[in-house]
Amino acid sequence: MRRRSTTGPGPAPALGRRTFLAGGLAAAGTAMAGCGPPDTVLSGKRRLRQWNLFTGGDGARMVEMHDAYRKQHPGIDFQTSTFQWGNPYYTKFAMGAAGGRAFDVATLHVSRLRGLGAGTLISPVPTDLLAQHGITRDTVTPNIWDTCTIDGELYAIPLDTHLVVNYFNRPVCEKAGVLDADGDLVAVSDEDEFFEVCAAVKEVTGQYGVVMDTTHAWRPFWSLYRQLGGELTLDGELAIDDDKALRALDFLRRISQDGLAPQSSDGAATPANFQNGIAGLMLSGNWELPTLKDAGMDFGMRPFPGIYGEELGQGDSHCFVLPVRREPDEDAVAAAVEYAAWMLKHSITWAGGGHVPAYTPVTESQEYADLQPQANYRRAAEAVQFDPSAWFSGSAAQLQADAGAIFTGVHTGAVTPKAALNRFKRAAQNLIDTPSPV
């Protein structure tokens, strides 16, 4: 047999002396820039570092607000860092805050306050200072203010509320005859009424009545469970009302099994299904608004339907938090609080993205009333249902992930509501038993 001729590795790519030197110089330059003196020394400006998790439409709006802020604050060297929503942001937040040198003010979901170290990594907001800028419990939606308060201390300054709402395709709903005299979707007061509305819409679309994210069923589940008056305790021993939870889960099962909603529709497909006219209604977060507007859809929005009573919907709030400092820096805290207050007062821009501002003078203004369809669900912000509090609950945290993985099978029919509830209870108890990392 002929000996296999193997070619050796080719010649190493020639790295010219000049290229090497140029690269080295560039690298040295970058390194030196990184460890130069703080900008404050050079420019005489007060440095303010802000971290956030807003990309896409929200990101664009935040940049717009930041540009305006910069213009009005020439004495502040304002630096922002944007990270990807969810885990990528929260891990950096935790590590940055633990290191103590990351940011002067950061955005956070209020539901993650406990999980990300209120008191250990996040320091309380000086309310007297905040009051000097006109932000008090009286000027912020009170239920949201209270969620930011732990043991009597305010740990976060709320910017907005975002929650699951009910979108409706206007032409489709008109044809289905489910609009009232004002052109709004009719209100429902019980399960059967909601199913009737869905069935009427289904007649028009030919496929489905309503669409919702079946891979993230926590939001509708929690909304319905709260409408039923359900409570969930995650401290020590898990306490959940089985009957109410089963009723909420059975709603998810029925709506899919009856063919009124798709058995599976993930985060990306849900708004697409609604846009494509496969369904005339959508239960989803208010943050989908810019996408649908950009698509040129004729749609309206109203609070999450009151299927079991009041129109309660699951939600959360974006807020500003201050890091715990090893060395006190009152000037930095003052600048951060002033910044947060400024953002709240100018949150009419933020409302363009679908979020309901937490600062009441904005939501009560004429300018906000003119925002359509935002103004239609303004009252929902007062009825928003926050997640139960634990270190593992809240946006993008473990409890929501577990609920998503388990409840998705209720929609597809792979598990019965009873089995799903048992699995969820096991997962929740497991998290309760896990030693807390904060």
């Binding site: 002929r2 296999r4 969810g86 885990n87 929260y90 891990t91 935790a94 590590m95 805050a97 633990a98 999980g115 990300l116 170290g117 250990t120 990594l121 496929q207 079946t214 891979t215 993230h216 798709p262 058995q263 599976s264 529709s265 993930d266 985060g267 990306a268 497909a269 697409a272 299904n273 494509n276 496969i278 593992f392 993008a396 945290a397 473990q398 992930a401 998503g404 993985a405 388990i406 998705t408 099978g409 929609h411 597809t412 792979a414 598990v415 699995r423 896990t434 030693p435 990392p437 904060v438």
Partner: protein
Amino acid sequence: MTVQASTTETPDAASAPRSSSPRAARGTARRSAAGIWFVLPFTVLFAVFLIWPLIAGLWASFTDRSLAKEDSSFVGLANWIEMFGDPAVWQSLWVTLLFTLITVPPLVAIALAMALLTHRATARIGWFLRFSYFAPFLMPVAVVTLIWEWMYQPEFGMINDVLATVGIPGASWLTGEDTVLPAIALTTVWWTVGFNYLLYLAALQGIPVYLYEAAALDGAGAWRRFTSITVPMVRRTTTLIVLLQMVASLKLFDQAYLMTNGSGGPNYAARPIIGYIFESGFTGLRIGYASAISYLFFAVIIVVSVLQLRLFSRKEDAA
């Protein structure tokens, strides 16, 4: 040989224990000293970025280190005991192994089939085959998963549409407990088979044509030529591909994470062990516990690799 070694400077002199000539020893020392500078950069990088993290990770697995706390304390074997009793660890490990079992055979067989096709193709369409077979491999994982997520959509995705035209009922691919892992496996095969294909193509081109001519003259048919010439001649490549592929499949994470939106799929049917490590460490903030699971997985990979090396080296000996 020893006599020679002590008088002349052969490369063996350095290791020969009896080389007592001072000249030779000096030369050896000088040569080794120069060598240190060549290996030093790599050794430092190796130590800083591999050895040190390995030790730090092992240490972390005995502590309650958290992402959200600065200090941590020694907890002994608590993480390890918790891990062995945690069903999620075993379930996600099973998902990883199952994924490896269902992806490796097609990734090897399809790559070989595509390489054979290209190898026999004329020059005119050969470049096209090479390009189209290899192109998916060049795509970033985010793009690949985005494309396939849309294709798998139950309501308007291409796959269910195609199935509908031939009268097969579609499925909720990524939200069905039984379909989510095979769906991810299919995407992975489409995406990564091009790399194995290239390796096979190179191996096929190394087989001398006269072997086939001689076999054909002796009356061997196409199938006989394939099993008696092609398969044995590319055996080394097959060994390499299987080894690389198994390690790659065991490391499943990105596509599973992206295609299930980080949820691990319905009832965690597509949460690989790295996904669970990520969840414990980053979502759950528990670095200590995540380190313990990482070490378990590390052990699994080592066991699989050793078994496989043994298996294949025995085959090589037999051949």
